[in-house]
C-alpha cells in the first residue's frame, strides 16, 4: 500500500500505544517516520517492528536541549516534514491533595512547555499543506478527580492548538488535536504499577464510558491520519476519540 508514499512524519512519543499505532499505519502505507522515546528497550523494539522506513531517536520531550537536537536530526533525515505529531505525555494521576511538586512540574514540563518549544523549533521544517497534531485528552474539558494537573496541561495544549493554528496560517500549516478518552495502551500500566489497582481502574473506566469499553490505539491513529491528510479545511479543532465521554 503506498497511499502515503513520499510523506514524512516526526512522532514524539512513538514507541508504544497511540504513537506506535500511528507510526505503524504510516509506515504500512509508504511513509517514513522518525519516532522518539526515552526507554532504550522501547526504542529497539520499535525499530525492529517498524523496519527501515523508521528512525528511532532517544529524546526527552521535556528537555529544550533535546528538542534542539531533535530539530537538527529531523532536518538531516527528512529535510521537510508533512506531520509533526506531539504524542509524548507524562501521566501522574493523583488526588490533588497528594500531588507532589516534582510530579506537577514533570507534567507541565513535558506536556505543555516541551510541546510549546517543540512546535517552535520544528514548525519551520513543515511543508506547506502539512500539519501539527497534539494529543490532548478529555481531562482537559471535564472535571475528573485524579487529573487536576494532567488535565490542566492538556487544557494548555488545547489552547496552543488554537493559537498555533492562527499563527501558522500564513505558512499553510494546519494545527489540530486528537483528544483520547480511556484507551487500551501500556500507559496505564506505567501510571499504576500495582496490577490489581490497574485492573480495577480499567474496569471503572470501561463502566464509566458511554460505549462501555476502552478505545483502541488504532482508533486514535485513524483520527490522526484523517486530520493530517484529509482534513484540509480544518484547523484549530480537537477530535475526541473517547466513546462520547466528553460530548454527551
Amino acid at each position: 500500500m503506498d497511499q502515503y508514499q513520499g510523506k514524512t512524519a516526526v512522532i514524539l512519543g512513538g514507541t508504544s500505544g497511540i504513537g506506535l499505532a500511528t507510526a505503524k499505519m504510516l509506515v504500512e502505507r509508504g511513509a517514513r517516520v522518525l519516532v522518539t522515546g526515552r526507554s532504550q528497550a522501547g526504542l529497539e523494539s520499535t525499530k525492529a517492528e517498524l523496519g527501515e522506513s523508521a528512525l528511532v531517536v532517544s529524546s526527552d520531550a521535556g528537555s529544550l536541549k533535546d528538542i534542539d537536537a531533535l530539530a537538527e536530526r529531523a532536518k538531516d533525515a527528512f529535510g521537510a516534514l508533512d506531520l509533526l505529531f506531539l504524542n509524548a505525555g507524562a501521566a501522574h494521576f493523583a488526588p490533588f491533595e497528594q500531588t507532589t511538586e516534582a510530579g506537577y512540574d514533570e507534567m507541565f514540563d513535558v506536556n505543555a512547555k516541551g510541546a510549546f518549544f517543540t512546535v517552535q523549533k520544528l514548525a519551520p521544517l513543515i511543508n506547506r499543506g502539512g500539519t501539527v497534531i497534539f494529543t490532548t485528552a478529555i481531562s482537559n474539558a471535564k472535571g475528573m478527580p485524579m487529573f487536576a494537573a494532567a488535565g490542566a496541561t492538556k487544557a494548555a495544549t488545547r489552547s496552543f492548538v488554537r493559537t498555533f493554528a492562527a499563527g501558522l496560517l500564513p505558512q499553510g500549516i494546519r494545527v489540530n488535536a486528537v483528544s483520547p478518552g480511556p484507551i487500551d495502551t501500556p500507559n496505564w500500566g506505567k501510571a499504576f504499577p500495582d496490577k490489581d489497582m490497574a485492573a480495577q481502574l480499567t474496569g471503572q473506566l470501561s463502566d464509566g464510558n458511554p460505549m462501555k469499553r476502552l478505545g483502541a490505539a488504532e482508533e486514535v491513529a485513524k483520527a490522526v491520519l484523517f486530520l493530517t491528510f484529509d482534513a484540509t479545511y480544518t484547523t484549530g479543532a480537537e477530535i475526541p476519540v473517547d466513546g462520547g465521554q466528553s460530548q454527551i
Partner: protein, 248 residues
C-alpha cells in the same frame, strides 16, 4: 476502488453540493447510495452521476408523510443500512427586523424538525456499528448577523447529535455532525438570485475566513465519511470543516 464495498447509505438532500459530493465518493468506492431531493432535474442528473450504485428518490425533507414513505422505500431497497446522512438544509438571509413567521418556520422545519423525525423513523433500520451524520453549520456556534433563525435551527440540530448519540448507544449507532463554514455549493446562489449580491456576500465570507477561501464539498464529504466509517470511538461530536472559523 472498493473502499465502501458492501456499505449502504441514505443521503437526505443528496442532489447537489455536499450531499452529492458525499454520494459520489461513496458510489465511486463501491457503496450503494439512496439520495433524496425535490427537484426532478436534480434527481435526474444525480441518478445519472451515480449510475448503478445510486437510487434517486423524490422526497420533501420537511414532510413527515414523505419521511414515512422514505423509510418504507429504504426498507424495501436496503432492508438495513450503515449510514444516514441528514444533509438537507437551506439558509435564508435576513436581518432580525425583517424575519417573518413563515421564514422562521421554514428554517426550523427544514433544518431541525425534519432531521429529528428522519432519525426517529430511519434509525431502526441502521445496523449495529452504523452511524448518523448531520450537517450543521458554523452559524450554530458563532453570532452571525442575517442568519439568526438558520443558526438557531442548526444549534438545535447540534443538540440532537448529543441526545440521539446518548439514546442510540444501546443500538450501537453513533451520531455525529459535520459543521461546514463557507462551502462552494449552490446554497448561496439559491438564497441570492441577484448575482451581484451573491458575489458581494461570497467575497466578504472569503475575506472573513482564516484560510481566505471557501471549502469544497469534497472536503466536507471526506469528514462525513471519516465520521461514518473510521470514527468508531467518537459520538455526539461536531467536526468543523470551516477553515478554522469556529475554532480560532
Amino acid at each position: 476502488m472498493n473502499r465502501y464495498e458492501g456499505k449502504k447509505v441514505v443521503v437526505i438532500g443528496g442532489t447537489s453540493g455536499i450531499g452529492l459530493a458525499t454520494a459520489k465518493m461513496l458510489a465511486d468506492g463501491g457503496g450503494r447510495v439512496l439520495v433524496t431531493g425535490r427537484s426532478q432535474a436534480g434527481l435526474d442528473s444525480t441518478q445519472k452521476a451515480l449510475g448503478g450504485n445510486g437510487i434517486a428518490v423524490s422526497s420533501d425533507a420537511r414532510s413527515l408523510a414523505d419521511i414515512d414513505t422514505l423509510a418504507a422505500r429504504v426498507k424495501s431497497e436496503f432492508d438495513s443500512f450503515d449510514l444516514l446522512f441528514v444533509n438537507a438544509g437551506f439558509s435564508m438571509f435576513a436581518p432580525l427586523a425583517n424575519v417573518d413567521e413563515a421564514s422562521f418556520d421554514e428554517m426550523i422545519n427544514l433544518n431541525a424538525k425534519g432531521p429529528f423525525f428522519a432519525v426517529q423513523k430511519l434509525s431502526p433500520l441502521i445496523s449495529r456499528g452504523g452511524s448518523v451524520v448531520f450537517t450543521t453549520s458554523t452559524a450554530n456556534v458563532k453570532g452571525m448577523p442575517m442568519v439568526a433563525a438558520y443558526g438557531g435551527a442548526k444549534a438545535a440540530l447540534r443538540s440532537f447529535a448529543r441526545t440521539f448519540a446518548a439514546e442510540l448507544l444501546p443500538a450501537g449507532i453513533r451520531v455525529n455532525a459535520v459543521s461546514p463554514g463557507p462551502t462552494d455549493t449552490p446554497i448561496i446562489g439559491k438564497a441570492f438570485p441577484d448575482k451581484a449580491m451573491a458575489d458581494h456576500l461570497t467575497g466578504e465570507m472569503r475575506q472573513a475566513n482564516p484560510m481566505k477561501r471557501f471549502g469544497t464539498p469534497e472536503e466536507v464529504a471526506k469528514a462525513v465519511l471519516f465520521l461514518a466509517f473510521d470514527a468508531t470511538f467518537t459520538t455526539g461530536f461536531e467536526l468543523a470543516v470551516d477553515g478554522g472559523l469556529s475554532q480560532l
